[in-house]
């Protein structure tokens, strides 16, 4: 990964705090993600990792702090705005559209790239038709990329877990995001599936130059993939730096060994 050029900051999180009622989920977190890097967020369960992603793509609205994405600073934005600005994500517990086929799930990811109005679609003529076909091809490229041709027209609900995770990645890729948030993409996978998924993540990063923010528990994976690692623990920012630095950090080690917090 050393040969890729990581330049400007694409996303800067500044002093974000989020709480539900009395429960403080994130406590003044600040970090940044540089364009083209793979940025991991790790930490024990309940550390606020997923909440951090939810804040980034506008699903949770922090009480304090601001987020600067591609130069635009705001405290909060509606999820679909985040999406339209180029932030896509996958979910910790698979959130596919169960009633639809693999292809339709990925096509739904194309939503923001499609424009034609209701009437043309009802008649299924002209632009609506061509738009549909063009985007089908894009979707097919993703299917090819993720090597899921065999399940193209199968309803996702019935697919094995590992494949569902792949389809979900495909749906996110379909949006051609600049920043891709992956929430435990390898949770519950066997080593072989993890191997494939890592491969895909690297390829996405190198082939499309997509910036990736990754939540993952498997340390070896994190250390292999990441350019930089952010460590959260019970809403607090524990460490931030290069993989080997983080691995060496005493607080981190304690946190993972479960040293009680004062």
């Amino acid at each position: 990964m050393n040969d890729k050029n990581i330049d400007d900051v694409i996303l800067a999180v500044d002093n974000i705090s989020l709480s539900f009622g009395v429960m403080k989920v994130l406590d003044s977190i600040s970090f940044d993600i540089k364009r083209g890097e793979i940025r991991s967020i790790i930490g024990p369960n309940g550390a606020g990792k997923s909440s951090m992603l939810n804040v980034i793509n506008g699903f949770y609205h922090p009480q304090q702090g601001s987020i600067t994405f591609k130069g635009e600073t705001r405290q909060q934005m509606a999820p679909y705005v985040a999406a339209s600005h180029g932030i896509a994500r996958t979910f910790q517990n698979i959130a596919l559209f169960k009633g639809m086929s693999t292809l339709d799930n990925i096509m739904t990811g194309r939503n923001l790239k499609m424009k034609t109005n209701l009437f043309l679609q009802a008649l299924h003529i002209g632009p609506a038709r061509t738009e549909e076909l063009e985007n089908r091809e894009v979707a097919e490229r993703i299917i090819d990329f993720l090597d899921i041709q065999a399940i193209r027209k199968k309803p996702v609900g019935k697919l094995p877990y590992g494949l569902q995770k792949r389809v979900e990645l495909g749906r996110a890729l379909a949006a051609e995001p600049e920043l891709l948030l992956l929430d435990e993409p390898m949770a519950g996978m066997n080593s072989e599936e993890k191997e494939d998924m890592s491969r895909f993540i690297i390829d996405v990063n190198t082939e499309f130059g997509t910036t990736i923010a990754l939540i993952e528990h498997d340390m070896s994976v994190v250390m292999d993939l990441s350019d930089r690692v952010l460590v959260l623990d019970y809403g607090l920012q524990l460490a931030d730096g290069l993989p080997h630095e983080v691995r060496a950090n005493q607080d981190v080690i304690d946190a993972y060994l479960g040293i009680p917090h004062e």
Binding site: P79, F97, G99, L112, T116, H124, R129, R136, R171, A175
Partner: protein, 358 residues
């Protein structure tokens, strides 16, 4: 078993995404269209028209509408009767005011008016979900009916409070009221259903349809990949109400000829249509038609068996009928909660894989 798919390969996306990619299906559809538009009109008569065909077709149209909202977009609505009323009263006012526009445009305009009203009542869906929303839609039901009952302007201040469709012709053929020509009425309504079924299918398989289903299946995920709940839900309400409005317009002008809001559009209409899509199959165009057919024919069948068969007195027969309908619905929900459409899909799959089981 009937299917012979070997060698049916697609060399471009438009073939692959065609409505009926399998040749055998296309033949079936052609046959159905032939029967619908050529054979039936030849043999049609008043009884069949008014007892079976018109109700079936008109409810099918309404069911299509509701299925778009509830089946595809997952928003439960109990306001169907009210929205049908909007369609009916719109076309009534229009037929009186601007008959020169011609019948078909009037039906469409009525649909559009209903769409507007529907969108309005769809607004709460942005804040509330599930049964809360369902109950909220009842507000529409009761408010609208009350409105058409109380506000004289809607029924042109006539004493009875009834509305009666003025005679209207299409290509010189009478298509409203009792002296309407059966074949003409039938063809008119059948065409509406055919055309708008096609449109529904097209929308459902396109971007907007996918967004609806996304909202239905996992609204949060949908929002996070850029589907705007506001647009998706309101568009569903609009399109749905548009269909239901047209159904209401035809229901009143072509089938009933005259209507009285509290009778013709009461809450049971809402339930009836809801039953149609549940039994037919949520999220399926075919299901809407099957469901309508089923629920239109079943009571007639029952009545004929009871009154005709056992000579039960009609009052008792009515009670038994409603009981049986209820029971059948429960049984049906137990046996196949995904409806007739699902049954058909299973059968089709079996036929495609015959003799293999999977």
């Amino acid at each position: 078993m009937i299917y012979r798919e070997t060698g049916q390969f697609k060399t471009n996306y438009s073939d692959d995404q065609a409505l009926f990619p399998i040749a055998q299906d296309r033949y079936v559809i052609l046959a159905v269209l032939f029967i619908t538009f050529v054979l039936v009109p030849v043999f049609i008569n008043e009884y069949w028209l008014n007892a079976i065909l018109l109700p079936f077709l008109i409810y099918a149209l309404a069911a299509l509408g509701l299925n778009i909202l509830t089946g595809y977009c997952g928003q439960l609505s109990l306001g169907t009767g009210g929205f049908m009323a909007v369609g009916a009263f719109s076309i009534y006012k229009l037929m009186v005011a601007v008959p020169e526009l011609g019948f078909i445009p009037l039906v469409i305009i009525s649909g559009l008016i209903t769409a507007a009203v529907g969108t309005l009542f769809g607004l709460p869906s942005l804040r509330i979900k599930g049964f809360y929303l369902a109950v909220a839609t009842l507000a529409a039901q009761f408010f609208l009916i009350w409105l058409f009952n109380k506000v004289g302007w809607f029924f042109n201040y006539n004493a009875t409070g009834m509305i009666t469709s003025p005679p209207m012709t299409l290509f010189g053929v009478m298509i409203t009221g009792p002296e309407g020509v059966p074949a003409a009425k039938y063809l008119l309504v059948a065409s509406f259903v055919a055309v708008f079924a096609l449109f529904a299918k097209n929308i459902a398989r396109g971007r907007i349809g996918r967004n609806w289903m996304a909202i239905r299946d996992m609204d949060i995920a949908a929002e996070l990949i850029g589907v705007r709940p506001l647009l998706a839900k309101l568009s569903a309400f609009a399109v749905s109400s548009f269909y239901i409005g047209m159904a209401g317009a035809l229901y009143f002008s072509v089938w009933l000829g005259s209507a009285e809001p509290t009778e013709a559009f009461d809450i049971n209409q809402s339930f009836l249509v809801l039953f149609m899509i549940i039994i037919g199959g949520l999220g399926s165009v075919l299901g809407s038609l099957l469901g309508a057919a089923f629920l239109v024919m079943m009571p007639i069948l029952l009545k004929n068996i009871l009154v005709g068969g056992f000579g039960t007195n009609s009052a008792l027969a009515a009670h038994i009928e409603i009981m049986t309908v209820g029971a059948l619905i429960i049984i049906f929900l137990i046996v196949e909660p995904h409806g007739l459409a699902r049954l058909w899909r299973i059968v089709k799959e079996k036929l495609r894989l015959w003799p293999f089981p999977y």
